[in-house]
């Protein structure tokens, strides 16, 4: 098994657990259950024409860590981080950028991607307006997702897997 550790980080209540559960179990719950510590999931990305199969070890973390997550033992050995923000709460997007920069600094060379979640709450065609200039000059790719509808959820994790294999992380 080629297992690679992927951190899912972001402010409290942005939908980190919902994204992971949508990916792993293909389900969504409206009932909010805060994550205490970390929930570890495994998700197998099947082999493709261009890349071997890879198992992602997804660390769904407690949003209360904030930027202290980078000094925490949870972060050890991470090959990638998916940093999540909530489109309906601009402050979480600012925090998302700060976390992204923190990860790039703490784990240089590792894969980083931003996820703007809860797109079901806004008009998809207008989402660039909704985030204003907050994502200008982003350090990594930005993907809009909805854990509620499942839009783009698989592709952000599969992209991460492909990048991990490509970069040999």
């Amino acid at each position: 098994m080629m297992g690679r550790k992927v951190m899912v980080i972001g402010e409290i209540g942005v939908g980190k657990s919902s994204l992971v559960r949508r990916l792993v179990d293909d389900r969504f719950s409206n009932e909010y259950q805060p994550t205490l510590g970390a929930d570890v999931y495994t998700y197998r990305v099947p082999e493709t024409e261009h890349a071997p199969a890879v198992t992602l070890i997804l660390w769904d973390t407690d949003g209360n860590f904030g930027e202290t997550i980078f000094t925490h033992v949870y972060m050890r050995g991470a090959a990638a981080a998916l940093v999540v923000g909530d489109i309906s709460r601009p402050a979480t997007l600012t925090a998302m950028r700060a976390l992204g920069r923190g990860f790039a600094s703490a784990c240089p060379g590792r894969y980083l991607a931003y996820i703007v979640n809860k797109m079901d709450l806004v008009d998809a065609a207008r989402w660039p307006d909704a985030v204003g200039g907050m994502l200008d000059g982003a350090e990594a790719s930005v993907t809009a997702t909805s854990a509620l509808t499942g839009d783009n959820v698989r592709c952000v994790f599969h992209d991460a897997a492909a990048a991990i294999v490509r970069r040999g992380l």
Partner: protein, 391 residues
Amino acid sequence: MIDIEPARLPPLVDAAMMLARRGAYGLAWLDADLVVTGRFGALADALEVGEPAAARLPALIGLETALAGLGCEHAPLSMPAIAMHGGAGLGPKVDVSLYRHGPGGAYLLVIARALDPSETTVSLMREMRLRLIAEADLASKSAALATANAELALLNRDLEEFAAIVTHDLKAPMRALRWLTDDVETALAEARPADARAALGELRQQSARLSMMLVDLFEYASLGRCADTRRTIDTGRLVADILASLPRPEGFTITVTGAWPVIETFKAPLDLVLRNLLANAIEHHDRPAGHIEISARAGPAHLHMAVSDDGPGIPRSHHEAVFQPYTRLASGGQASTGTGMGLAFVKRTVDAVGASMVVVSDPSVRRGTTFELAWPAEMAGSTPEQASATT
């Protein structure tokens, strides 16, 4: 029997204390390659001897380097409160600690049931999330309110401007209409049908002009609130289209110079601005023949354009006034056919798209006027080479 003697006492005391406090636990011994060599306790049942520990405990994946650097005299590598989903069946949350077990590189793995978070902790976290959402909602509503207030202020300013124009500038043509109807009435009463017909003709012209002014005024009021979106446009093609449809007297030449790139920008406003600047240069020229030059240069974030004419120029004292609605400066005594709204349209559009414009003209020094524009644009392709064409 597994020999655990090489491990120093303090870490093991620490482990023992932890296990003593918890109801459920598991112990496992791992070799230097993290393969399970022995296990004990309910929470270690899922681990298989001879198998890498990470096979059932995926949380250990990625930690190889960190573990290799662990000294047996130091604190363990501890991962508190983790839940393994779909894996080892260790229960909801466990604390996992790895102790270096002597210089041979073996490890002691300790798994203990994590302390359940109190109801208070969970409800505090729920409260925190609700508060954060409420704060974000409030911030969003405040921002929307501020935007609405700014728009309202703009609308009020527009309304005042509109009222001022209607009450002042439209009085003259309205008065003219009234006087012309008086002229018609008088001419008819005095049996002067030719004069009546002439007055009616003028009345028709004034009425048409008044309609044109009102249409322009409505368009002016609409500018800045139009929802245009950025699109890819070939500015060279745009200028060619404008020139093809721009009426101008014989003897007027227009030269297009510089490099006109393909850009991402607002098309309709750019069309309006260039069209009005060119029309203004022709309309307010004081001679039957004239020359206009329109040029472009691509910058990193802007397309820099200039429209220059060899007309009478604009006195410096009028550089701001020309952008006021219904302002028409004298152009060599010639009657102007416009409504005086062209440059007002230009200024308002330039402001609406975030462009900037400078007027360069001083008739006391030399003839001619240049309007220099810095238009926000993203280059969508390679910039063409410099070219020049006169029509």
